[in-house]
Symmetry: C2
Subunit: 404 residues, 2 copies
């Protein structure tokens, strides 16, 4: 028995006409492959947000069992609706909820992790049904209470079910065609990437790309499940997320991305003595502010230093306030949110020299000043003025040969 | 351990401010009695109707498992919301769904009947919680699929849980103060009835009164569970539904009710021969039309008869059409929906003579013509002209001494 796991997100099940579109995709799939299908579905788009807002008016602590009881109704509803429509089209189907399989999780409500999935039951249902519509995002704890896996958790449900069934891949359908070399709205010649590694997509996710839930990618990476990210609206192949060794041609740079979600803070005239950085970032950490990029300079006289770092734009004012009210000595503080972070990502970087240099050269030629630099094994990020964003992305896109 | 089962209907949980009102009632109850509480709740009003409408656009057959998966989300949502609000008020609480108890039902989806309830689990939860918020209206089949009990089924859930816990009574809260001697909007002096028998309330339900779900009354009658029907908005006792022998003072007539949901059809000039009635009502039964009251007259010459009966007003045209296209011979057919049915109900009728006569006399004095009569052991119904409804109800209310 050949089984395929297909996951459809909230916009793909947003309304009845979109669900009819899914039914068509399933019909074609069954006709062309004869496969049995596990259809993992999210809640209809907007439903989960509405339930979260309503709940938070009553209780700001969402790590309660009742939060999960409420949120899980979204996928319960959509899975049964879709199953109804499949049956209407004579495609034998039933909905299955997390507790019915069961998908056992820990009891970390609102952020539960999957412990085990009983795939025997799924296989036995295929004797009777062609399609099993699984409510994504949900499981059940050992205490027999409903749990949810955190936002975007249906991706994780799909990968985990594929693994439990011994499959080598799964398909994740959404309203985008796949992963792109850069944002097509900004970079005219941005191309769909045919294949990308788990590591690359995790870097992209940490940079703000929302195509896949990071936990689903981590899980897929751990068990070597290929993820086919593809469109539910176009009949085209999307992007395959694979192991590094499965990627035949390793581009030096796979994708270029940008984020406007940062603010830069500069402290000038801080005493250049051991422990001062720990003091500053300690104060910010206690205020729950994440610091991303950091650069420290020492002035010519060697007595004073300046420190530049970035924080999430929403925390900008809070960070300045925290530092002003702390006992840390500095002469000036300056903050700026008219900036953006440009990142290039690619596993090929590891074995190629001169990747960073090409980035700096390309930006220099366009007269774009680099304010801060940070790097990881497969990523280089730079901070530049926001108005230069489009120019920088396009220049880099050409420089690294990402134009088709 | 003393346990109380309290059920709240859809209008009582319609929104957050109404749920706050329930939380207050529960707080008072715990304070005054120290009881552990099983709170059985319906979906927030309007929710179930919306889900039914949406489903019926896709599939007119509601006896499917998916229909129940969808409908059960309403009570899943409300039970978790209420539990959240109780916990916020430091009243330890958790929601419980049908499958978690479990409430085992048959697999007659959308109209399932309860087979058994595991009350051990409920009792064990009371070691940890003061209030258990049970999602009404739902259960789980032996095939581990969600079932629902039919509209109004939360009443049945409450009575069944009370029985399974060995209790002698339960409370059903709604937006009415109790059962009335007649409709207070029509009869000025209508009074709340202190106690009423199961049989009487079943008759009233069959006559269109919607206070309790008939199946819950049947269940309560079978196991002798008293039902206290009371208001969730006023702090007053309501009406107790009890066994006949528990009703100390047996009024001859307990309540007077009316229904405008009938149409009268008269067939004139039908051959007076055996089997003709069976032919007529057979034709209507095959068209799924329920016939209620029936009167047959034979004309003077003994050859022809006339037949008068009532059908639901919505089936009036269909009934006339069915009879016209049938092979049944008649000279004239006449239908009229400007009528209403007035009924008096009371267990005391059984042991009192002259009850019917008083009804006929009272109406005659007011010059109200009786068109059809039907009786049961504890009920007498008559058909009259609709414009005379208010006059008839008020006159009968006085005649049977129901005025306080």
């Amino acid at each position: 028995m050949s089984i395929n796991v297909m996951k459809f997100g909230g916009t793909s099940v947003a309304n009845i006409s979109r669900i009819r579109n899914i039914v068509k995709i399933i019909e074609e799939k069954i006709y062309s492959t004869g496969e049995k299908i596990v259809l993992v579905v999210s809640a209809m788009s907007g439903v989960t947000n509405k339930l979260v807002l309503e709940y938070k008016k009553l209780n700001t602590n969402i790590s309660t069992p009742e939060y999960d009881v409420i949120l899980s109704t979204g996928e319960q509803h959509s899975s049964a609706l879709i199953s109804t429509m499949l049956n209407e089209k004579k495609i034998s189907s039933r909905s299955i909820l997390g507790w019915q399989i069961p998908i056992i999780t820990d009891n970390n409500h609102s952020q539960a992790r999957i412990l085990s999935i009983n795939s025997k039951l799924i296989k036995s249902y295929f004797k009777k049904y062609k399609v099993l519509v699984v409510a994504g995002f949900q499981g059940v704890s050992h205490e027999n209470r409903i749990t949810t896996l955190g936002r975007g958790g249906s991706d994780t449900s799909a990968v985990a079910i594929a693994y439990s069934l011994g499959l080598k891949s799964c398909e994740i359908y959404s309203d985008v065609d796949g992963i792109f070399t850069s944002d097509p709205r900004v970079v005219k010649n941005a191309n769909k990437i045919d294949s990308i590694t788990y590591e690359e997509i995790l870097e992209l996710a940490s940079l703000g790309s929302k195509v896949l839930h990071p936990r689903s990618v981590e899980l897929a990476m751990k068990y070597g499940i290929k993820i086919h990210v593809r469109s539910s609206f176009k009949r085209k192949l999307g992007t395959m997320v694979v192991k590094e060794e499965n990627k035949i041609e390793k581009e030096v740079v796979t994708g270029i991305t940008s984020s406007e979600n940062e603010a830069k803070i500069t402290l000038k005239g801080i005493p250049d003595k051991p422990g001062i950085a720990a003091e500053i970032f300690g104060a910010l950490a206690r205020a729950n502010i994440n610091v991303d990029m950091i650069v420290q300079n020492i002035t010519d006289d060697g007595k004073f230093a300046s420190l530049t770092f970035t924080v999430p734009i929403d925390d900008q004012n809070k960070a300045v306030k925290e530092l002003r009210k702390s006992k840390i000595k500095f002469k000036k503080i300056h903050s700026n949110d008219n900036i953006c972070k440009i990142s290039i990502v690619g596993v090929g970087m590891k074995s190629n020299v001169g990747v960073a240099q090409k980035m700096f050269e390309t930006l220099a030629k366009k007269n774009i000043n680099i304010q801060v630099i940070s790097t990881s094994e497969i990523k280089i990020s730079v901070l530049i003025d926001l108005p230069k964003k489009k120019m920088a992305l396009n220049a880099l896109h050409i420089a690294y040969g990402l134009k088709k």
